[in-house]
Amino acid sequence: MFDLLRTYLTFLPDPVTTTLIILIQIIMIVIPIMLAVAYLVFAERKVIGYIQVRIGPNRVGPRGWLQPIADAIKLLCKEVIIPDGADRFLFVLAPVLALGPALAAWAVIPFGSEVVLANINAGLLYILALTSLGVYGIIIAGWASNSKYAFLGAMRSAAQIVSYEIPMGFALVGVLIAAGSLNLGDIIEAQRGNPLTWFWLPLFPLFIIYFISGLAETNRAPFDVSEGESEIVAGFHVEYAGMAFALFFLAEYANMIMISALTSVMFLGGWLSPFIAFADVPVVGLFFGDGIHWFVFKTSLFLFLFLWFRATFPRFRYDQIMRLGWKVFLPITIVWLVVVAAMVVYQVPPWFAGS
């Protein structure tokens, strides 16, 4: 498609065309993500609603489908209140810093075998770096708000994210060892075969730990101490209103989708089909073959888990989260790294036979 576009735009200098194409591609990723975020919020309210024996939003539009649009319009129309004692510059900068990395990380996610904005070799490192940057938005928000609740929330969040980066990073190292590459497309290719050759099985502890760390990383229940409603009201974004608040909200949900997408890429084979044997059957083969729909499906599965956990579990206390991260997850990941390394070295079939 873009090659076709390039032939029409030959009158423009080459760098301009490239920039234009990249911009179009960015828009093609960001808009679906924004829509996904909006409807993830809707899905959350519906799913949790049904778990809690109630109906959830059903008034705006047919069966409530326009609710997220209405919410967005409401938030856009509200005043962004900047508290008197706040640092104005940082206060406005913080939500941008939260959302920016959350969106930028999507650049390297492979949606299909050829569908990726930036197919860079250090994709995994890039993601690790950008997801870590998100914490700055939270810390700056907590600091700039000049409120004790926000400050406590920021401190909790900073400590929590820094702690969970480590087991998360180790889990990624496990994937790196297993796949032998930092490129996300190559990681998926390394899992090719059937659902049993996907990395969730050989890396099972890392898979679980990665997803739970992802919960902690995105400040979702049961790890939502940084905005724990009943303790510190709303934590770091307590002073934010209107669109500034909405940006934090968008960032949180974009991160959730991000973590789910990464889990499905690294442990469940991304766009690989579990029914690849049927891929050659006419008509239905289109569905059973590899493709973006499998990626979306697997991502949705993890997103549902996010919502399910939120409806089920009480909230951890801050120090208990730290204990879980440092005393449970970290040792397990380290041990399993050794196991993975051994499996790779001794070429344990079926996963590492060819490597």
């Binding site: 949790i48 809690q52 004790k148 009943s230 089920t312 206390r317 801050y318």
Partner: protein, 427 residues
Amino acid sequence: MRRHDQWLNPMPEIRNMTLNFGPQHPAAHGVLRLILEMDGEVIERADPHIGLLHRGTEKLAESKPFNQSIGYMDRLDYVSMMCNEHAYVLAIEKLLGVTPPVRAQYIRVMFDEITRVLNHLMWLGAHGLDIGAMTIFLYCFREREDLMDCYEAVSGTRMHATYYRPGGVYRDLPDQMPQYAASKWHSAAEVAKLNDGRQGSMLDFIDAFADRFPGCVDEYETLLTDNRIWKQRTVDIGIVSPERALQLGFTGPMLRGSGIEWDLRKKQPYEVYPKLDFDIPIGVNGDCYDRYLVRIEEMRQSARIIKQCVGWLRENPGPVILDDHKLTPPKREDMKGNMESLIHHFKLFTEGYCAPAGEVYTAVEHPKGEFGIYLVSDGANKPYRLKVRAAGFAHLAAINEMASGHMLADVVAIIGTMDVVFGEIDR
């Protein structure tokens, strides 16, 4: 030592942070204002400020005939309405020296226990929500809805019932539960489903509830009792030793959670409690988890008591209020056709009745603890002085002791376990 450190380290000494917790705080259970002195996340001192919901109930009662203050009692602890009424009505009866008919006593006991379930469901939902478990809140409210319907069926209101009267209860139990009607939002089929359990009398409805309720409690327990996070958040939090619990004036589940078997229903029985069969659960460690278990078991025991009351009430019809029209209003029918009754009605609803001079204290085992009414009469038609002994007041006073040394998140769990309601604390 500290001075020495300061000399070595040019950093200024960092003061504790003072955090103003409430009154507008999601976990403040209404209008609690706590001034927390914190060292990081650890609480050094918790100073509760009360009075933001003060409505002068005790003073208001001094200027109204006895019966007209019953409605104020509902509004004290607004999640266990009829138990508050009960203590007040018992006080007046003691002053007047009257005993209500046995059927009225059974109805009162049944509604006391319904109220206990209502209160504990509210507590469980709010406590769960404080600790971050959202779903339990809505599960609890599902069952509360049925009990609220019972309140409505018997008194006409869902919360502030004003149902108990000196000399009995205002009306007998209705023969039919109210039904839902079809509307724009509910089709006839949906309404038929909603009305499914409401075909019989009110006693049938309550009986069905008492049968179903232990299963519901099991459901709550699957969500919380063995949940590791729930245990991490409640076990060993806010421990109160039995001795200390007595010294602090704890009553109700707060005292029983610490292992002291004290329940006014057993120790100072009132109404028909001696005729009923039920157990008093007690805790061992006196922490938030034990108090949680005690309250859960109390709900099961309440269902048991309700069941026994329903059985008795089915078999023994009879009057539910004394037939003394100096104290209780005559039937409306008589009032319309009989001069004497009209005069009684007029006198009762304007002047009320006069109680002999004297002072009484009555207490009931309220869901939160001992709820007492101290009533002084000078022989007039209204109290000379009314003093309310609210259980929550003594419990809240212990917050500094219970929360010191714990973390901010534990303060929320401790407020939850105290089951404070500011209607009764601020009065």
